[in-house]
């Protein structure tokens, strides 16, 4: 008994249950994705699934299309979100948090419900559902993820640098491009990661916004993984997605996860 107490009085061991839990439910499943990708239905090793992916033009096309949509969406979110974050950080509101909170509040409504309402809005305005609707809906869903990190970095920025630049004769434009933009880059990076990663893997939004006429990579994975005999092929597709996500988070900023928590 005393030994047990001794072990637990070393507080380092308190993380053990969590580490065990994570090993079982995070690391092992990810390994399993790879295992399933390299086996056939009977559990024998095979690389036929990969060969199928590289010769399966629908999958490749969908994949490229999804990446393209994600890039477009990220760019649009950045173009719309940066000015908004900049304005919010600049303006000296008496209660400065209100605006930022108003931008985050829609996230409390279930995103699928918001998507359905967007579809209805498009119907009411007589706009066709398609690529345009898809981009609008994605941008609408992920814009807060872009605004919030940029707003955060801009707000924490040392304003004396801007003042110094102005004193030294920089006009507004130079000051913006040479001082504010470089200083806000960490926020921009995490914003990009936070918008790009969910967009490239989204599956329900696209389906609802286009009446299933446009298929994104996420929907394709969902289709295959829920079909029993194509499960292994689905695992290959997930592995491809996982690689993209890994690359993005490798090149992106590590702070993005913390930001997501900060938002809510």
């Amino acid at each position: 008994m005393s030994r047990v107490i001794q072990i637990f009085s070393s507080r380092r061991t308190w993380a053990w249950p969590y580490v065990l839990f994570m090993a079982l439910f995070v690391v092992l499943p990810l390994i399993l994705v790879a295992v399933y990708a390299f086996t056939d239905i009977d559990g024998h090793f095979t690389i036929r699934n990969f060969a199928k992916f590289f010769t399966h033009s629908e999958a490749i096309q969908t994949f490229l299309y999804s990446v393209m949509i994600a890039v477009f969406n990220t760019a649009i979110c950045l173009l719309i979100g940066y000015p908004a974050a900049y304005i919010m950080a600049q303006e000296d509101f008496r209660t400065p948090k209100v605006m930022a909170m108003l931008f985050i509040l829609p996230m409390w409504i279930n995103f699928l419900l918001r998507t359905v309402a967007t579809v209805e809005l498009f119907n009411m305005c007589g706009l066709p559902l398609g690529e345009g609707a898809l981009l609008f809906g994605l941008c609408y869903d992920y814009l807060p993820f872009m605004i919030y990190p940029i707003y955060n970095t801009l707000q924490k920025m040392d304003n004396s640098l801007v003042e110094a630049a102005q004193d030294l004769g920089a006009n507004r434009w130079t000051c913006f491009w040479k001082i504010i933009v470089p200083l806000s880059m960490p926020g921009v990076y995490s914003g990009i990661v936070m918008v790009f990663m969910p967009t490239v893997s989204t599956f329900a939004i696209a389906e609802l916004l286009t009446h299933n006429n446009i298929k994104l990579f996420g929907s394709l994975i969902q289709d295959y993984i829920t079909t029993t005999d194509l499960l292994n092929y689905g695992a290959v597709l997930s592995l491809v997605l996982l690689i993209i996500i890994g690359l993005t988070s490798f090149f992106g900023d590590n702070n993005s996860e913390g930001e997501k928590g900060g938002m809510i």
Partner: protein, 467 residues
């Protein structure tokens, strides 16, 4: 000969006069779009409910079956395309004689809602000639002949929305033009220096108003779909976007439990799963945070990386990997697997919200408590917990939110036993082509509660700042 100042004057004048017309021209553009839209789609959608007259008994298990529907014209119509493997079916009608298939409806959504069959004809570009269409329904074994009735649920196009936009833009343009003209008048008879200060002041103001306008425009767009949900929560119609008069019935249904049984159980499951996931991830995460904080730097790095993996992974990957794990282990998927999955992606956030509290706290107090004869349990309860409490609370709330909001992970781990949370319920509902109407009041209430909390926090903060 021209002075430098004169040139400057000329250039600025031309700039302003162009700007003056921007608002007006955008307004005109919207006006044109309004006209174009109203001409293009005078009948956007026709939803006909109920009263399908059949020659044979209609199959009860209609939703799961592959069904062909075709317009009835002596049996000469044939369906062009329909999606297999979905519980709703899209159709495009082919007519041997006609080239343009979208003549009156280019696709049909159909599903059965209890015994009555709901047909929604999406986006018909022209008004149907015959409102009581005869259709053929086949499910592979039998063919049924049916009438498609238009009912009160059908509604006309909303091209007028564009006119509202156009009107607003026009008004804004005219107001801006008037503003510029009056400001120019004020400048008359002033010295150049006074004019310049006035201009500077005005430029600042203009910048302020433009940036404000940008933010508000963005907010309007962001809230438009939500406003749609909120507004239509006060009417009884089944279809979102169809006003059938003011009524509080949906709210009453929600609270008296008369709403769809699926919705009720989805709400309960969502609450139960969120509570279980939040409580267990708070306990697990707090312990883990204490452990991680006391680790040596290398160990710490490894565990921190492990901690960030579920946060980096998108839902679909977390969901699929857990799905594969449960398949491989032979777990039957249901409430337990969903809870485990939720704990997986909630705990990292708890860890991250507790860690800062730990680094702010004096590390010696815990040791001191042990030295003074407290057991580790007592020391944890009486020394550490009070310090960590705020971090744990925020982690708990975070976990609750994430769990309630989650769709991707739940979708893959819920199994096929009929377990639905709100997200997956909405998804399967939306796929069928319609939303359960009671969802509208539910989310309106959630939004109102959140808004109230926000306003309350703001008032409290501003009061504290004053003190």
């Amino acid at each position: 000969m021209m002075y430098e100042g004169q040139m400057y004057e000329v250039r600025r004048n031309s700039g302003i006069s162009i700007r003056r017309y921007i608002g007006i021209s955008i307004g005109l553009l919207f006006c044109l779009m309004g006209f174009a839209q109203s001409k293009l789609t005078y009948e956007l959608r026709m939803a006909a409910t109920g009263e399908v007259e059949l020659l044979d008994n209609f199959p009860a298990s209609y939703a799961g079956e592959k069904v062909n529907i075709s317009l009835y014209d002596g049996g000469k119509y044939e369906p062009l395309r329909y999606d297999e493997g979905r519980d709703t079916v899209d159709f495009i009608f082919a007519h041997p004689g006609e080239e343009d298939l979208s003549a009156w409806g280019d696709s049909i959504f159909c599903y059965s809602e209890s015994e009555e069959v709901v047909w929604t004809v999406w986006r018909s570009k022209k008004e149907p000639k015959n409102r009581n269409q005869r259709v053929l329904v086949t499910n592979g074994r039998n063919t049924f002949e049916a009438y498609l009735h238009e009912t009160a649920e059908s509604h006309r196009s909303h091209g007028w929305i564009w006119f509202v936009f156009a009107g607003l833009m026009l008004a804004a343009g005219i107001a801006y033009a008037c503003y510029v003209i009056t400001e120019r008048r004020k400048e008359r008879g002033l010295t150049p220096v006074e004019q310049e200060t006035l201009r500077r002041k005005r430029m600042g103001l203009r910048r302020h108003y433009f940036s404000q306008m940008y933010l508000w425009l963005l907010l309007i767009v962001l809230y438009a779909p939500i406003a749609l949900i909120a507004v239509f929560s006060f009417t009884k119609s089944k279809v979102l976007g169809n006003w059938t008069g003011f009524s509080l019935d949906l709210y009453a249904n929600l609270f008296t439990g008369q709403a769809d049984a699926g919705l009720n159980s989805a709400i309960w499951y969502t609450v139960i799963i969120a509570l279980i996931a939040a409580v267990s991830s708070t306990i697990l995460g707090t312990l883990a945070a204490i452990g991680i904080y006391n680790m040596r730097s290398r160990q710490r790095k490894v565990v921190s990386f492990l901690n960030s993996v579920p946060m980096i992974n998108p839902d679909i990957i977390t969901g699929i990997s857990l799905f594969l794990l449960f398949v491989a282990l032979g777990f039957s998927q249901g409430l337990a697997t969903v809870c485990i999955a939720h704990v997986v992606f909630c705990t990292p956030y708890v860890v991250l919200s507790v860690l800062p509290r730990l680094s702010r706290m004096n590390p010696n107090t815990y040791e001191a408590a042990l030295d003074l004869g407290a057991t580790p349990g007592q020391a944890l309860r009486m020394v550490m917990l009070p310090e960590l409490w705020p971090g744990m609370i925020s982690g708990f709330i975070l976990a609750l939110t994430l769990s309630v909001d989650d769709f991707g992970v739940t979708f893959f781990t819920k199994g096929s036993g009929g377990l639905e949370t709100l997200s997956t319920f909405i998804y399967s509902d939306a796929r069928k082509g319609g939303l359960t109407p009671e969802l509208r009041p539910l989310f309106t209430l959630i939004l109102l509660v959140m808004l109230t909390v926000l306003i309350y926090i703001n008032i409290r903060n501003s009061k504290q700042r004053k003190n």
